[in-house]
Amino acid sequence: MAKLTDTAERAAQARPGGDMSRARAARTLLRDLRDLGEVRAPRGLRALVTAQTGGVPDQFFALPTPLGAVWVAYSAEGISAVGQEASAAEFAEYVRRMRGRLAQHTATPPARLVASLERHLAGASATPLRLDLRGLAPFECAVLHKALEIPWGEVRPYHWIAREIERPKAVRAVGTALARNPIPLFIPCHRVVRGDGHIGNYGLGGRSAKQRILAAEGVDSDRLERLARAGVRYLGSDSTDIFCYPTCRHARRVTEPHLVTFRSADAARDAGYRPCKLCRPAAAAA
């Protein structure tokens, strides 16, 4: 008891006379308080913590893509991160910070996984990839899952995602969620473009990378921007009276003589066209 700074400690200094019992009580209190700390954690605690924290680090490897080699990390749940860091160490650091997980490089990724990723990049896979999105906010997950629905070779505007996930006013938040996409290329945030038809920005290498990856999927972004500059947002067919986003597979099937252009969904509706049920360019009429 070198430093007597506490009320209780000061009172614990025995003073003569009637203060003796108070002093003893104060000393007892401190001793009893200290005794409360003599406790052992339940035996299972450590195992529970390890079950939630430990475990097996994610593995990652380099995969060739239309954008050059990218790192792909995966866990037992599925793909957990994709990035273009300059070195394996930098990517491991990125995974640690972005996803809060440990990751280690492997030179021998499972051949089936590599084949499946290659099929996805080529638009030749019908089976969805297994993804590990644990730890992301529900809104982010909703945005990313919606982006997954955009078919290979097609694009949709940001406000399409906002409307489809029933947060029509959250267009900016959709943009943020896509910009933070931990699994670019495989969660195709590159297929989401600006509402005015310009292709917009891209995290994995900027605008030119976005153009390249879209071109690899057969999307003519020059044509899209030409249409955009001319004020065209939707294409319709005068034989079906249906209007679509320009890259929708239905719109691409329309032959030149039957092709009609629209500046807005309202203009299309006024002309007696209904929105395509596949690309859903507007909420279905009530």
């Binding site: 009893d32 308080l33 700390g37 954690a41 913590v49 939630q52 924290t53 430990g54």
Partner: protein
């Protein structure tokens, strides 16, 4: 078990195994803090678990420079306290009947099993009463008293853990102790009547 400096060095060099060591070094202390703060064994286990998992997730996102200079002890208690406050806010705490309390305090979670059964029963009863009294303090004073006098933190650590200036931390401890003594006096007077 290793000092905090050694623990930090271990965390920086290998987070996975370093964290295992951290859990071993801190699980009893964080559990004890959670137990005296919440007064409930079931809650304390969940809180300590929660706090350690949160600490791990945070460490994953920290660059090594930041881990190296962490004030580990204060930081871990601070996380545990935040877990408790969140649970109070979200009304996630369980209510534990007193009999349960008594039984669990006597379970072999104690360090000293050599004591006689009678001595232990007295000690368990004293612990139970004191924990119940602590439960009547405002949370800030309770946290301050427990960290200072149960967990034995110095005032600089206490201030860091409570995230308040040293002067405020000191006065929280003093006020808490004073209230505690008044409460005990009342309890004793009640018995005497």
């Amino acid at each position: 078990m290793g000092t905090d400096e050694e623990l930090l060095a271990a965390l920086v060099s290998d987070l996975g195994s370093g964290f295992e060591t951290l859990v071993l070094a801190y699980q009893d202390r964080l559990y004890a803090f959670a137990l005296r703060l919440s007064g409930s064994f079931a809650d304390a286990q969940e809180m300590a678990q929660d706090a350690l998992v949160r600490a791990y997730r945070a460490l994953l996102t920290y660059p090594p420079e930041r881990i190296g200079v962490l004030h580990l002890r204060a930081w871990l208690f601070q996380i545990t306290r935040n877990v408790y406050r969140n649970r109070v806010r979200n009304q996630q705490l369980q209510r534990v009947p007193l009999e349960e309390w008594m039984r669990t305090e006597q379970a072999p979670c104690s360090l000293r099993t050599t004591e006689g059964a009678d001595a232990w029963a007295i000690r368990a009863e004293r612990r139970r009463e004191l924990t119940l009294l602590l439960g009547r303090l405002p949370e800030r004073q309770r946290s301050a008293v427990i960290l200072r006098h149960v967990m034995g933190l110095g005032y600089d650590e206490l201030a860091a853990a409570l995230h308040e200036p040293i002067g405020t931390a000191k006065s929280d401890v003093h006020r808490g102790i004073r209230t505690l003594r008044t409460l005990m006096q009342e309890a004793n007077d009640g018995e005497a009547d």
